[in-house]
Amino acid sequence: MRPRTRAWGAFALLALTGALAVASAMPASAQEDDEETPVDEPEFVRGRIQDKTKEPSKPLEGVELTAKKGDREVGEAVTDEEGSWEIMLPGPGTYTVTLDTDTLPKGVGLRDEDKASLEVEIEEGRAKGLIFAIGERTTTSRSPAERLLNLGVQGIRVGVVLALASVGLSLIFGVTGLVNFAHGEVVTFGALIAFFLSASAGGPEMPLVAAAVLALLAGGLFGYVLESGLFRRLRRRRSGNVALIVVSIGLGLFLRHVFLIIFGERPRPFTEFTVQKNFDVGPISLPPKDFVIIGLSLALLVAVGLLLQGTRLGTAMRAVSDDRDLAEASGIDVERVILVTWIAGAALAGLGGVFQGITDKITYDMGFTLLLSMFAAVILGGIGTAYGAMAGGLVIGVTTQVSTYWVESKYKLGVALAVLILAVLIRPQGLLGRAERVG
């Protein structure tokens, strides 16, 4: 094959994705200019109260809200006909905003009764949005056991998405020894592609399901480009491990900020499946999309497992992971195996990004935020194997989610990273799979 053609392919794809993204971002940014956070202005909290259980969702007028700093009331607001409200604050600080549930229309209440008061930290010159989730008034409050159970199930959802995103990270390490610090950007890439295809105002506005499939393919293509355009060449130059890590960090940094330029700083949701009525299975209450995500992810992970176990390709992958030279000597086309691993791993990561975007919002750095958790998952489970990433992902997901029962959720990432550090320190060799021989 001719390497030069491939390099052009890489540039063309980057240019294409760039152009596509810019084109779709243009009308969106024009339309949303008024929502940009103003700088050098006083601090605000704002939001919009809508009853999203109705189709189309119905703005609620006349709902009263108050903001307090400590015990002192600093502002109040009533929602207008759009359901919008805004409170100007006296300065940066921590505030509690309370929604007066008595002012809600009959039959409508907060989805979670405990969340009538929300705490918010406002930095200087910033405005923050607050969301009060409106739904059917639930009268029963949950027991601790039920809350833990629900957190556990949410943890499984976080875990399977994490696993899906990190299988590639682990497999790529397995076949090439590369610790890819740009893997998070592959995840973001998938989410952004799906966003521009489905939710962006100037885009084709496809159904999210179709966009997700295309994001999976685009992720694979992205993996192809990274491998054949960059990392294969570096391997041929016999670049050392340390050099490759630094290169992947540079690549990640570059891509992340290109995404920032294209997508903007503000987190944005997909337009579909944003707010759903919870679906109850016994004591477990989750939006249907979470059940679907768990199901789909598990199915894909099982498929990956079967593929690795049962097909020639899978065997070849494991052989290359075990001993590259031996695999090459026994006639395996190592470069092809590596390429396929990259494509498959990046495709799954791209889809993982879409799932992550559905449950949370899409941001330019969502993948990077996820990266350290992915490392945690991969190392915990045993780097280089797919099962390791899956098991590790689940453990990390459930641990972090359940930890929020005791620890404030802002420390969630800290919990994941603490698990990572402990895992590496306690069993670095065992987790790696096998010890290295000297000499």
Partner: protein, 329 residues
């Protein structure tokens, strides 16, 4: 477009306190990464503990000199905390653990509320007054032509570059000694060093701690110059930027960190200024890039630069090709 102003601005930043602080951080990283080969990706944590050590001490009513001591002590403690458990790990694991540990620390500092010791997301302000009271320069503008500083800027600048000079000399003395020779052996092959009876672990720890203390000075300098610390100034991206500075200048070279920092900030500032002027002049359509994107553009450039440098010129400007890490293993 006022190209002269853009240029003057770029020079001002390239010789200013910011560049000096990055040079200092890179001097520390040079000892760790350049000479010892430690892939410390949590370097920003040393800057953070230095800055917070100082800020918290002063905020709680202590004098600034005590704050500086606390900052240094915090860096030593952090170096031991990082190093003792991790230095036996392979390079890639060390990278992951240090970046994770730095983030955990940042999350812990960021977590608590306004009334806590760290003041959470609000950070601590105005703790460097004692430093500015010592300023010997009378009020006025100092400089040549359009490249000029206020007496305050000149004071920070003088102290900053003096620190850079002192620590550069220290690192040169260290690395030219037999101690430094062992570091270079460790960088290339730990097992070879061990087979010759060298206590690799202790030397790595010493290198990490000394480099970390130098990083802490950089953090204190930046914080005092800004009169502000905030957890969100210590993101992993700062570490990456310091790596770019070091690799640009030349890892394991004496003056690499200085040359790297000056050039880095010149290029960054010039590109930003140029892009801003170009957008204003309408050369770049706003739909492609507007002024709010310039910060992002900077980091995109840093990333691209880091990647290209590592691929095409890993020895940077001043390093020796024969000694760099990238060669065939």
């Amino acid at each position: 477009m006022d190209i002269v102003e853009v240029l003057a601005d770029a020079i001002r930043v390239a010789i200013g306190p910011l560049a000096a602080a990055y040079a200092l951080a890179a001097v520390g990283l040079n000892l760790q990464f350049g000479y010892t080969g430690l892939l410390n990706f949590g370097h920003v944590a040393f800057l953070m503990v230095g800055a917070y050590g100082t800020a918290i001490t002063v905020d709680q009513g202590g004098p600034l000199w005590l704050g500086l001591l606390v900052g240094v002590a915090a860096a030593v403690a952090l170096g031991l905390l990082f190093g003792l458990p991790t230095l036996r790990l392979r390079a890639d694991y060390l990278a992951i653990v240090t970046i994770a540990a730095a983030e955990v620390l940042r999350i812990l500092i960021r977590g608590p509320g306004e009334d806590s010791l760290t003041r959470g997301v609000f950070g601590i302000q105005r703790f460097g007054n004692d430093f500015f009271d010592l300023n010997p320069f009378p009020n006025g503008e100092y400089g040549i032509g359009r490249v000029s500083f206020t007496e305050r800027g000149l004071w920070v600048l003088t102290v900053a570059w003096a620190l850079v000079a002192v620590f550069t000399v220290l690192v040169v003395l260290l690395t030219r000694s037999p101690w430094g020779r062992v570091l270079r052996a460790i960088r290339e092959d730990e097992d070879a060093a061990r087979s010759l009876g060298k206590n690799v672990f202790v030397l790595k720890l010493q290198s990490l701690v000394i480099g970390g203390v130098i990083g802490a000075f950089s953090g204190m300098l930046l914080a005092i110059d800004r009169q502000s610390v905030n957890p969100d100034s210590y993101l992993p991206v700062v570490t990456f930027a310091i790596y770019t500075v070091l690799i640009l200048g030349g890892p394991a070279s004496r003056l690499g960190p200085i040359v790297g920092a000056v050039l880095y900030w010149f290029v960054i500032q010039f590109t930003e200024g140029f892009a801003r002027e170009a957008i204003r002049a309408g050369w770049i359509p706003e739909s492609v890039l507007d002024e709010t994107d310039i910060g992002a553009l900077r980091f995109a450039l840093v990333g691209l630069g880091l990647m290209l440098l590592m691929i095409f010129r890993p020895q940077g400007i001043l390093g020796k090709r024969e000694e760099v890490l990238i060669d065939a293993q």
